[in-house]
Symmetry: C2
Amino acid sequence: MSPSSPSTARILLDRFAAWHRLTPPERADVETALAGLHPGAEHDPERAAELLARVWWSFLVEPGDGVAGALIAEAGAVAALLAVLAALPTPDALPDMTPAASIRGTLPGVPTPDATRALARWRPRFGDRGLVGALRSAASLHLRVLLPGDDAWPRRVADLGEHGPVCLWTLGRAELLDRPRVGALVGSRAATPYGLQVTADIAEAWCRQGFTVLSGGAYGVDRQAHRTALAVGGDTVAVLAGGLDRLYPAGNEPLLREIAERGCLVAEQPPGTAPTRWRFLQRNRLIASLAAVVVVTEAGHRSGALNTARHAAQLGRPIGAVPGSVVSGSSAGANRIIRDGIAQLVATGDEALGMLALQPELEPSPVAGLRAELVRLHDALHPRQPAPTAALAARAGLAETTVSAGLGELELLGLAVRTGDGRWRRG
Amino acid sequence: MSPSSPSTARILLDRFAAWHRLTPPERADVETALAGLHPGAEHDPERAAELLARVWWSFLVEPGDGVAGALIAEAGAVAALLAVLAALPTPDALPDMTPAASIRGTLPGVPTPDATRALARWRPRFGDRGLVGALRSAASLHLRVLLPGDDAWPRRVADLGEHGPVCLWTLGRAELLDRPRVGALVGSRAATPYGLQVTADIAEAWCRQGFTVLSGGAYGVDRQAHRTALAVGGDTVAVLAGGLDRLYPAGNEPLLREIAERGCLVAEQPPGTAPTRWRFLQRNRLIASLAAVVVVTEAGHRSGALNTARHAAQLGRPIGAVPGSVVSGSSAGANRIIRDGIAQLVATGDEALGMLALQPELEPSPVAGLRAELVRLHDALHPRQPAPTAALAARAGLAETTVSAGLGELELLGLAVRTGDGRWRRG
């Protein structure tokens, strides 16, 4: 039986109903709720099965669960879930069984120890009746679920590989997520007036250029980024660490409601999920993957924004940071990632805008095939800010004579342009 | 006749006396003054000739005169000066001649147009009687002249090539100049309390580690650097843009006197020379060349400290800069050179100390012969601050898998060390 057969959705719903001991009215409620979560699935049985499978998965796993991700990538969300269900005893057998005895199987293609640990990790959430209430709550709140393959699905999260989200719970304009220009502005919750000012400056500059301003909906820098975007009529997205039925932190509830109305709220976890430390860290990875560029506007030594920057570094995202006083702790983290070469120093909104030019090219690189020193020299050239030969030599780590000769070659190839005052920029 | 013949010094002194129309008592004064400028030359006729030649040259040329530098490098200071004297008419013929007619010759090895321009440039200073007074003033102030080859001659100025100083006028402990640990601290004259604080922090940290703190004797950052060094009992050198007979700026006179007593004052230009804009710029090049490392603690967009940083970049010196608020102009220049990759971000005195590790190695490089990606990886490792694999990958621009494998190779070669927490530093 192919997973796309019309009966797959029904089979999965039957299993769901059995595991959650749904009464017929509850089952009808769940079906209605699911239809509301993803109206496109209503008349597409394959999509309906995919929706239920991924929603169910999102209740079962913590964000970033690599075994689930690998299994889903290999078999598809529906078949992967059926394999998991097959690896567990029937729901009726459960109440009297110890957790260890309640697992009887392995998973296709997953090494047995990993499968055993994964099943043990997911098992406690199977049949949780809270899920029924959460689905009803999602329906009443008009949440939507984005699935891979949906038009609005943000393709950038594919960079997370098997640690990517199984689906995204959204409220508002989900179409903001897959734009080329999505910039994350992150930083300390305890932002100083300085941090708030530079955050507002960059958020405003980004909005003027049609960027979606992405942040975490927290106090301080996050809040300032969202508020500024709303104030200037720009687009903003808040990625939350818990379910969208609880707008956390409470003090930001009015702001988050406004984002839901005019921008978009996103969560990886379903309704009913409390924000935990782990989920905040995973939320940071999601912010990094959703963004085309990440800027840390103010961050102390232990700020969570540095965690976002590290995730962004792992994903190859261009990262900027705004420097600040070295004698106050509020900028210590931002200064550190600049010093360590993880982030580029960003002083103005326009510089933050310019960072998108650093994004990995989707087209074949123009420098493919050039010898190493020309590639390094090309790297050192900025698309808009021309630099003198000496600075390019310092940046590229090449002798100035090499740089002068190399610039001539790059100029012939159309990859370097000399400005009137004898400086050079990228061609 | 070899330039080392005992009569060379006398021949040169005869020419000097003729050009400056010295009376016999004046000639005796000049001889006494010269002996006091470099006591080591008293019983060494060759050294005495070298001394007079370079002192005379330092009166004739502006700092950085490349024709003089090339000629001296080629022929030696004495023969070069004799060649210039031979290219001019006799002093007796001068008073009635126009400047153009007062040049009749060329210079050995110098293209004729360059020679003509150079002679025309130097000619106006030949026979200037003010020089006699300046030498008397130098003697009464107990100035000393350092010549290339002297024990205390700072070998780092050789990096200036033909644009290097012909000699150095000093007051105080000239032996501070040729130490391995000479750090320049430079910045705005109009320093803010922030700039003053970070300057003091770094100066103190450097002094604790036996650094000589080098600066320009100006207000603001310079003054703070010198004062802090003196306050903590450290060594400090001020490089002035004019002659050491006039301690400029006047408001720093007490400080500069104290530096002369406990540290060292240095000038490239002889007594009687006023500080001019050009000489300030050339002074910056001298600071950059004298320093093993240069740190800009606070600089606005147009600060002269950026000129020093550019000179340092051309000389391949490690350059640091202290970041600051992006919303005040006082740190705009420092932030810019960090952003442009000219300077490394420095947040603490210890980080500024660590920069010496970036100096070009005098010994054969341990990475010689390694393939490019290992060299890049080794470059990315810091000698004292361990970093995680991801950060190293970002720094080196290599895939993390490549970095992991490469670290293993470098570890086997003793070039990388893994710390307890799984991070890596240079071996």
